[in-house]
């Protein structure tokens, strides 16, 4: 009974354990995951007593700590693509106006906690860009109507019943006006610059009209292009910038006048004192930036301070500041979206925030190089050293290796960029929209290095997706050759291609930024490494010329000309074109078109190829009758999604599977009355996609799986040209009770581990769904645990335990990236957006790893105990055997005696 009960207990315990390990334990929080939060590129700022209130282009309102720069609170407003914050005013509470065109929302926020206090809408008839200002507790909304008039609406802000909140509209004739971009609001004046005339209007006076002054009477000449910049001061004043020299114009009693001194265009002023601050370039190489303070009235220099400006940041501008007595704090932002707080008069940088990380475009995971110690063993045969020194070298290295192994290994320490046993410590290289590269340590989330590339921007791919390419030419595997990665982007002014080659571990570049003289439409990494183990890549220009990088690897490529195929998706013509390199020669690479698929009038929304480093472990699926159904694993397969506007069905979503070599459409399915957003996940022999079903108003997810059948046509070499039979296609659809933002699939080293789909939802959660749950079921075949098949459920259940980011809500997720670790069970995951979240997932649980709380002491104790017990029992057993032997001997002795006695007795009786 005792035995049975314990077995039963263990079983119950195991089942509970399995269910629990789906989620995290409380003490595991933050153990192998981390989260960094960002606010985005700052647009407006206000420095308060111990905090900095920022409004950003990501349509975020946040409060940063003055001392550390950490986010105290953050409020996310509407989608930044549709809405923008246009006014930030901090008084007792924070006032924001955000919106676009003709719908605006006026909100007030509590300053300490960031809670919303009030909100009211502001609607106008005019659908044109406009300006806002707050003056004497009134909100002024100024709309310039082109070539007609200016509408000024005044709203009372406080102590008003919400229902009675009505604006007072005033129209001022201004037949010269074009749009709001040439106008600024300076204090109580609205000032415009139009055809070399400066117009200004006093907003406070009810019956005021525009007054004008010709620009040449103010500046002397009006030939160069002049730009207006507002300046914060009690007397309404603006900067007139001409040829990068700014003049200060002030309005006193309805008369505008220009001060005689010159300023920089980046000059700013704060309300507390009479200084104008401006930034100048400095000749000193260590202190590149100088802050100069000038007197507002005379323009004389008050003081100038050289800043300890960090190297690698872009050019700064002053966004805001605060002066208390002698101490001044300047809030700077840079061209690469970093934020700095400068303390004057010392010129010290108090903190820096890298806000470029809020818009990651491309990501790549890199394995770290081996440690110097491990590397030194490779040097054994380097020199002409004699046998004894070689021997001593080997012995010392191995002793050192043993020592480091016993002392706990180096890779466990943070900050040491050395490969660990399981490939859990990696470096993530990210390229951001601001054109800055960062390397992030997976263990700590700290920035290992950063590199700013001036004037670059992402490509625009299908469906206006922003894209940059990070191609891994060589990993850190090949010591002593360093790893090499390449970034492809375009120039932000000309749109021409930019190639940047760098070492992903150190961030150093030997060649620097290469600017190409053509636009890039496609780039491919080729799987043929050259003698330096560097994989070359091809770049296709907009005129369909092909360029190879590096050029000398043509000798590797020429053997593969006839088997190298490319495809180009053209979102403008909604077509997909296939090309061959067959007719190339060593001197000139040539693309020959060999196929075309034309989706017009549908819109090409997404094209997805399989992950290049994916390994398909299992070639088939075992059916219930123990026969094998082989998977159709075509490495050249492309998944394409299109959306067609249709008069009958509103919009139709179509998904195609196209062979990338022959252009054969293997499968096409269309969903009527469905629309985007469409997310494609393409892996092994299956495709999963989500779309919105307009008819039932729900998100749906479809799975498509391809099989060859019971016979494998060619198990050794796959050729797209040899079509012996078309794949058997299974499909199934499900209801997804959530709104997905991004979707991807886990990737492991050998592909043995089960696959999980990772779906980022609009509610800030990233959930994992087993592929088994989506895998199409075979009709007419049993489905149960024996067939490792979960019976069909039309709705995908979403449990809270499947959220991989537990309670850490992630805002505005823009991508999920995965990479395999060297442990088969584990997969690295990086979720980026306004927050960056890194974690590891193990879809089949960590079957190849001991739990981190594994009790090593206990197992050693048990082992030692059992060894001791073995010896003791051996000894005891020996003793027992001896005793027994004696006993038998005695017994035999006695028996003999008895026998003798018996014989004697018999004799006597006889």
């Amino acid at each position: 009974m005792a035995n049975f009960r314990s077995i039963y207990k263990v079983q119950v315990f195991l089942t509970i354990l399995i269910h629990l390990t789906l989620a995290l334990y409380e003490d595991q929080v933050g153990k192998f995951d981390w989260k960094r939060s960002f606010v985005g590129k700052v647009k407006y700022v206000s420095l308060e007593a111990r905090r900095i209130i920022v409004a950003t282009e990501e349509n975020v309102l946040a409060s940063l700590s003055m001392n550390t720069g950490d986010i105290q609170w953050r409020q996310l407003l509407e989608d930044p693509n549709d809405y923008q914050i246009e006014l930030l005013q901090v008084d007792k509470e924070i006032l924001t106006v955000s919106g676009s065109h003709n719908t605006w929302l006026v909100r007030t926020w509590e300053i300490n906690s960031g809670t919303l206090l009030s909100e009211w809408p502001l609607n106008t008839d005019q659908n044109i860009p406009s300006k806002f200002t707050v003056f004497e507790k009134k909100l002024y909304h100024i709309i310039p109507v082109t070539a007609s008039h200016v509408e000024v609406t005044v709203y009372p802000l406080y102590d008003v019943n919400a229902n009675q909140r009505k604006g007072i509209l005033r129209k001022i004739t201004a037949p010269w006006i074009k749009d709001s971009s040439e106008c600024v609001v300076a204090n109580s004046y609205f000032i415009c610059l139009e055809s070399n005339q400066l117009y200004f209007l006093n907003l406070l006076k009810d019956n005021a009209d525009f007054q004008s002054r010709p620009l040449d009477s103010l500046l002397g000449s009006s030939l160069a292009k002049t730009v207006l910049i507002e300046l914060n001061h009690d007397t309404p004043s603006v900067l007139l910038v001409q040829n990068n020299i700014a003049k200060l114009a002030t309005i006193v009693e309805n008369n505008i006048s220009v001060k005689p001194f010159d300023l920089m265009p980046n000059a700013v002023k704060f309300k507390e004192n009479e200084h104008i601050y401006q930034l100048e370039a400095n000749d000193n190489r260590d202190k590149l930036i100088r802050v100069k303070a000038k007197d507002f009235q005379t323009g004389k220099d008050v003081f100038s301070v050289d800043l300890d400006y960090p190297i690698g940041l872009g050019a700064p501008i002053i966004l805001g500041g605060q002066s208390i007595g002698l101490v001044t704090k300047l809030f700077l932002t840079t061209t690469d979206n970093a934020l700095l707080l400068v303390h004057l008069p010392e010129g010290k940088i108090l903190w820096t925030r890298e806000e470029a990380l809020s818009s990651i475009i491309a990501t790549e995971f890199f394995e770290l190089p081996i440690s110097e110690l491990d590397a030194s063993i490779e040097h054994e045969f380097d020199g002409d050293s004699d046998i004894i020194s070689m021997f001593t070298h080997r012995i010392t290295t191995q002793i050192n290796q043993l020592y480091s192994l016993l002392s706990g290994g180096q890779s466990r320490k943070n900050g040491v960029m050395v490969r660990d046993e399981f490939g859990l410590h990696k470096i993530i290289v990210v390229a951001t929209r601001a054109g800055k590269l960062f390397a992030i340590d997976t263990l700590s989330g700290s920035i290992a290095w950063s590199y700013r590339l001036p004037n670059i921007q992402p490509f625009l791919s299908t469906d206006k997706k922003e894209e940059m390419l990070l191609l891994v030419q060589r990993t850190a595997k090949y010591y002593p050759l360093p790893a090499q990665c390449v970034l492809l982007a375009q120039d932000s002014i000309t749109g021409l291609g930019v190639v940047f080659q760098f070492d992903p571990i150190t961030g150093q570049s030997t060649k620097g930024i290469q600017r190409l003289n053509y636009k890039i439409v496609q780039a491919v990494l080729l799987p043929y490494p050259n003698k330096n183990l560097l994989k070359p890549f091809l770049v296709v220009s907009d005129t369909l010329e092909v360029h190879l990088f590096p050029k000398d690897s043509i000798s590797q490529l020429k053997e593969h000309f006839s088997t190298t195929f490319l495809y180009i998706a053209d979102p403008k013509r909604d077509s997909l074109n296939g090309y061959s390199l067959k007719y190339s020669t060593e001197d000139s690479l040539k693309l020959t078109p060999i196929w075309e698929v034309n989706f017009q009038p549908s819109n090409l929304v997404d094209v997805s190829a399989k992950p290049i480093n994916e390994i398909v472990h299992s070639q088939g699926k075992v059916l219930y009758d123990r026969s094998v159904y082989y998977k159709y694993v075509n490495p050249n397969l492309l998944a394409v999604a299109t959306v067609t506007p249709d008069p009958n069905h509103r919009s139709v979503v179509s998904v195609y599977l196209i062979d990338g070599v022959t252009g054969l459409i293997l499968h096409s399915a269309s969903h009527r009355r469905a629309k985007g957003p469409i997310h494609l996940v393409h892996s092994e022999n299956w495709l999963v996609y989500t779309y919105f079903n307009d008819r039932f108003r729900r998100m749906e997810v479809s799975a498509v799986e391809l099989y060859e059948g019971h016979l494998q046509s060619n198990s050794t070499v796959f050729s797209s040209f040899a079509v012996s039979q078309l794949p058997d296609i299974q499909t199934q659809s499900y209801i997804l009770p959530a709104m997905p933002l991004k979707m991807t699939v886990t990737l492991t080293e050998r592909g043995v581990t089960n696959k999980f789909l990772l779906i980022a939802l609009t509610n800030g959660a990233v959930i994992e769904i087993p592929w088994l749950l989506l895998q199409p079921r075979f009709t007419g075949m049993p489905c149960g645990p024996e067939e490792s098949c979960i019976p069909y459920m039309p709705e995908i259940p979403i449990h809270s335990e499947t959220t991989i980011n537990y309670n850490q809500t992630l805002s505005r997720i823009s991508g999920i990236e995965v990479a395999p670790a060297r442990l088969e069970s584990t997969c690295h995951v990086l979720v980026h957006g306004l927050d960056i979240f890194y974690t590891r997932v193990a879809p089949s649980k960590t079957f190849d790893l001991l739990k981190e709380d594994f009790d090593y002491r206990l197992i050693v104790l048990v082992l030692v105990g059992s060894i001791v017990a073995t010896f003791v029992t051996k000894r005891l057993a020996a003793r027992k055997a001896l005793k027994r032997a004696w006993k038998i001997f005695h017994k035999k002795d006695i028996d003999k005696k008895i026998e003798v006695m018996r014989i004697c007795c018999i004799g006597i009786v006889k």
Binding site: F599, S654, T662
Partner: protein, 227 residues
Amino acid sequence: MKYIAAVFSVLISCFLISSNSLEHDGSLTIKLQHALNGGPNPVYTDRGHITIHSLRLKQAIVNQSPLTDIEKHQIQKLAEDNELYKIKAIVTANDGTERTFISAVKACMLAESELDDKFAVSLDYMGRVIGVTSLIASKATCEGAVVPLDKLKEFTTSVYVRHSETGAIPDTASYIQKLEREREAQEKGEVKDNRSFLAKYWMYIVPVVIIMVISSASNPEAQGGGQ
């Protein structure tokens, strides 16, 4: 030859599976041109016509003239040089719109199959042609092949019109039915099942008893051995 036929039958069956989901029927004419000169700059010459009277019925009439001797030699040479045999298909829909598609197959595969090629005409959900692909049914590729001229007589072309399938929809109805069936079965089961505790769980209790008996039986023996 038998083996090739088997391959074809599988291919044809696969093509026929795709469901018919066109809303409006239509017709098509496809003008075929091929390039027999090889090299990167194809010069297209006429090959024939394909007429599809009904996209729903997927029936195609192929109209091709036999090859001339020059063309046969050209194809033979293409096959020998392991070149690509390029096809241009000019599709005219019944509303008069014209679209041009290109496609290519390995010339040696075409020659080895004795000019038996297939065309997949893929349509979108409205019956508009989105791609015309030429393919050869074969289990393996080749890298150049010498094929005697008497095997290159005439194209035997098959045309497969491939419709866009209607996307699968979540199957809620059968799932609800299944749930209801299960519930009914459960309800029925509950009504019937009013046996005693022992009658219901004897299969669990008996092994426990047996194990207990065995363990208690083995213990006295060991004790007895010690005595």
